[in-house]
Symmetry: C4
Subunit: 389 residues, 4 copies
């Protein structure tokens, strides 16, 4: 085997056979979710695991994968394989990214720093959230060995937006991911029941508190009057008046690729392409925004058909295992984002937990590729799938 990914499983077996060691991390995805859920406090547990409303869309995201079945091919030489993928001109070791997730320190004290280190050690890009619990500069430093993207919650006030983007550029982030589907927070009963919004406790506003433009709008420094800073944050964070026209401003702010996250309709994908965006992420925010929304995977093929030839189409929402990643790639995603599984790994074992999650995903994707008769991820296309009857 030329790639190391699938070897991960043999290492586990060898440890078992020679030293009696069993893995300390859950190996099954449902066991990972259970153990992480047990370890999180009620507030974080609801925030990470929950969805909006009845959580119907959250479940639909997972069910959608069951409708596509892989048809493996036999007797092709798959000894030498590659998961390498070029995304926006950069070669990545695999078509995976860590999805932007805010306030990660509610799950583990090392939060985004642990995730950044784990990501860097595998070469998988991390998309750091505007709402992270450490500054984007600190995260960049932690993951200095690896690639990183920056996710923008576009705030009220163009100066502030520009400042965030330019800081990201300065800190070595290689792309700007603009989240389109969260100008307002979705209706999330688990968080409401706990009256839990970590941003209001200053967690997740590190990028604001460290921002010169944001600080210049405060009458007193956040160190002196934290609640006033939170109040100001609340005032600028939500910005539901942004429209397609505003994207030209963002384009002028940065030379980095701009990727729009949260596209579900082919016409919005076309508009993104027409506006000169570099990419889109098909996503419904993990079922956390519009309850009742279309499953993200169900939205993917029409979007790919509409713009797949023109701009980079990534996928997010519902990937839980290597087979899911394979299916999203086969339906046309250039890469897929991993959200909750990474958070569960973080909850279970900090940096090491995240790394194990990534290694499992990579190994399973590598094996799915090989056992499907393919030797390079670029060979994965719709012909590898059939619809379940």
């Amino acid at each position: 085997m030329s790639t190391p990914f699938a070897n991960f499983q043999y290492g586990i077996y060898l440890n078992g056979a020679t030293q009696g060691l069993r893995p300390s991390h859950p190996m099954a995805w449902d066991a990972l979710e259970r153990e992480a859920t047990d370890r999180m406090a009620p507030g974080p547990r609801g925030y990470v695991n929950g969805g909006s409303g009845t959580e119907d869309t959250m479940r639909a995201n997972l069910d959608a994968f069951k409708r596509h079945r892989i048809v493996p091919r036999m007797l092709r030489d798959v000894e030498t394989r590659s998961l390498e993928r070029t995304v926006l001109g950069t070669t990545m070791p695999a078509p995976l990214l860590i999805a932007p997730v805010g306030v990660q320190s509610i799950v583990h004290p090392d939060g985004e720093l642990a995730v950044a280190r784990a990501a860097a050690s595998t070469g998988i890009p991390m998309i750091a959230s505007t709402a992270s619990s450490f500054t984007m500069e600190a995260i960049a430093e932690a993951g200095a060995q690896g690639p990183r993207w920056y996710q923008l919650y576009w705030p009220r006030g163009r100066d502030l937006a520009r400042s965030l983007v330019q800081r990201a550029e300065a800190a070595g982030y290689e792309a700007i991911v603009v989240t389109l589907d969260t100008w307002l927070l979705g209706w999330r009963p688990r968080d409401l029941q706990e009256a839990y919004l970590p941003f209001l406790e200053s967690v997740g506003i590190a990028n604001y508190l460290s921002d010169p433009v944001f600080r210049s709008t405060l009458e007193t420094s956040p160190e002196e009057d934290p609640m006033a800073a939170v109040g100001q944050f609340v005032g600028v964070f939500s910005n539901p008046s942004v429209t397609w026209e505003d994207l030209s401003f963002l384009r002028e702010c940065t030379s980095l690729p701009i990727i729009l996250k949260g596209v579900l309709h082919a016409d919005d994908a076309r508009e993104a392409a027409a506006r000169g965006m570099d990419g889109i992420i098909v996503s419904n925010h993990g079922g956390r925004q519009v309850d009742g929304a279309i499953a993200a995977l169900d939205a993917l093929p029409a979007v790919v058909d509409a713009v797949g030839a023109d701009i980079c189409v990534l996928f997010d929402s519902g990937v839980r295992c290597g087979a899911d990643a394979f299916k999203a790639l086969a339906l046309g995603a250039r890469a897929v984002c991993i959200g909750r599984p990474a958070m569960w790994g973080l909850a279970v074992g900090g940096e090491e937990g995240v790394r194990t999650v990534l290694q499992c995903l990579l190994a399973e994707l590598d094996l799915t590729l090989a056992l499907s008769g393919l030797s390079h991820v670029d060979q994965i296309d719709r012909s590898a799938l059939t619809l379940a009857p």
Copy 2:
């Protein structure tokens, strides 16, 4: 945000962050149902929660919503939004009504009075049932600040029917909702097991006992001989011989709009329009009448296609959350009726419980609208939906 509805969630979060307060009312719809169910005595619990027969239609009502998925659109200015809806010439703050439910005092001693007050405080019309546990005049007084409709169980004896309608008109009710699907009570095993029919215990016949025409048919006053009054009620309540021809009589009794509740077939909707009715409510009585009947939502599109341009089409049966309301509106309902959730709110917290339920529904609907890229409920149409694969 111009509308106050979505702000409701931020109030909860702020209470949590600043005062450590968590909401006293369940925030998730399934938790509301569970808590209300725990609080109700066996008889009322079966009456409110139960359906007819195997409760297959009751379940089908809920499942039908899962077959429609919302496809949100991005980057449209949704800062200023409106849920206002004109129904039968009157502007309502939102396309919601409280469905007619009888004998509400079995759930909470304040019964319909609490619901009327909660409804009036939000501007959502309450549809008061003929079988209410308080007189229609008392309910009107309790909800004097808000709009109200009257639901008629058309009794045997035209004089009695006319009397009820004219009392409603005098008490300021703005529309008459005639229930078509309950000339006979459905087969309801939960009630049968408890041998529980609250009407036979005088609960729910307040409108009869206070009616001069009804009283004139009694040999002794109901105060002297309550069981005789109940017996007389039983004799006139059920009236399965009413036909389309009889509607002209009702039309002559009142100048109020007449809305027929319980239409499931497009031909019946056409007949209602041809007979000059003002509206219909697509409903299967919450799965409480014909077990095995079509899910109400599945009946809606054909009815809208048949008469949506001619008369007002409302929807009832199965709405449990804001996303459900959005989907029914998208399929063509001008407004939707809320039944069991309001009763659960009443069971959990009386007037305040009902108000919280309405606020949650309004907030979730407002957010669903905004996050779907729409700024006015009148923009919601079938293009916002796709069928689940």
Copy 3:
């Protein structure tokens, strides 16, 4: 209401309101099944409740009803109603029959006698099984006031077959139902686990032990040597060599109508019609013979389309409530057979239990008819249904 059927529920409510009485019999079908299951010993429980193999067809029989939805019509005069149905020239009070079930005394000591009495008191025909635990003459005497049909397990030996049929004719049975699907016993794991086949313990061979032809084949009387009689029974009971050609012999034995039970394929239905049979029963033996077989209801429409105009098509397998009966009638059955629910009633309360089950079914069917806008069972046709989406 002209029919008494729906009144049954008002009686229960009145008992509750005036005397505090609750029904002693379970009112919900699932509660009936649970209570009966609790009361039966392991052997009978497996025999009555079980199906063949994985019980997949047993479940499919029930699921099939969910695919058809009733579309009720409104504002039709349904005050006067009738469930009366003419079947094979005889008018029955309702389109129901009690399905043939063997060895009923394993469920309750009164067995078939209790069922016969309950059936006679409602006018619903009972189909007495060849494998009944009382002789057909005793059953006929118990149900002398009501109609009765005889079910034939066609044994080896034409003399014995003729004897059974002619005894039935003499005892006043009005039709002969020939079971086609049980020449061999299906693979029934519950019975195998208990090693329970009640016939081998003489239960269910009463009709053989009392038959002169059968007795003439024994060397010693069954009173002297019961196991020899059982052995002889086993030798003649199974007769898988019977073919369509043999039906002419049966036709010559009796002038009673002959109905073939167990037809699932339209071509077999056509063959039955071509051979001059009077009727067929679409049935898969309640999921007790071929595991994996088509649900009986799914087989009904094609059979009705093929021969419904020519011969009487009855339905069996899966009817659990009034709505199920309505749907089978709407798909073209002239009447439906009630199997397990009657046995559960027998287990719960003997004769009274069976009567209650029949009264509940009749009341629910009457209400389903009325609330669907129909006043006579003959008006029930496919236009009353729509397919679930």
Copy 4:
């Protein structure tokens, strides 16, 4: 009855009636699985019962059978029946084989020897795995009375591959089954959690340790240095570079029929035929290799349509009962392989447990045939099935 298979159930009933004996072996397939699962230690339990990834394909294998329904035909003479099937020129007593399963001694100390004896006593061919815990010669001796096939995990090194095949030929194996879908081990979370790979503990490499070619590659004998032998085994076992071209080498090694196991795509089936293979087995390795793969039964019809007329098409993956076998045969399989049920029988009762499983399967298949109106397995075709609606 001319075949003894269905008689098996009467024997059980007779034992119950005359001696009060109940079967010591679970009669229901789900009970067999439960009891076997209880008896196995955690490692073997995960190895036998588990699948790859989320076990979605393992479940899909079972669900696929539910979509096909048998339509039994009536009144055909089925007294004399035959399950005999000619496969690759040899007549087998029934269209069943025992699927190749490795390391069977982890389930029961007698392992493959017990299975071989049970198989031989019924005449059902056993397919012995390369990874068996006894040598192929020992297995052949144990099952000397019955037919046997050999399954080849094609190792690195043509000399070793040729040696294994020629030993099989010498030991009287009648066909070579080459597994195509396991050049790499799938991602199996249950095994990973236990760090359990029995091969690394020498179980399952008996055929290697006894092979002169393999031994010649070792510097020290396996008796002296077992771990070195395991290491060498690991190095040669996995051979993902084998392609269609390499099959000609195998063809030259042996005159036995060659059957390719693991085909799921019709084009691969065509390639197998074009390359002169004698047969294929449609299989996804029981859902143990590619999680998310198409259910094996869903892949069968297209493969049969493509090559059914040209080469022998067998079926494996998901058969749990006689009805499943019937359906796979009806969709065109010439015979079906039994995997986990045989292992469960082994776990529950060693040789006798396996024999009981086979007897139950044969009896249920015989009854399904008869009760469907057929008297020979060769009459089973697609006309016996209909799709579930």
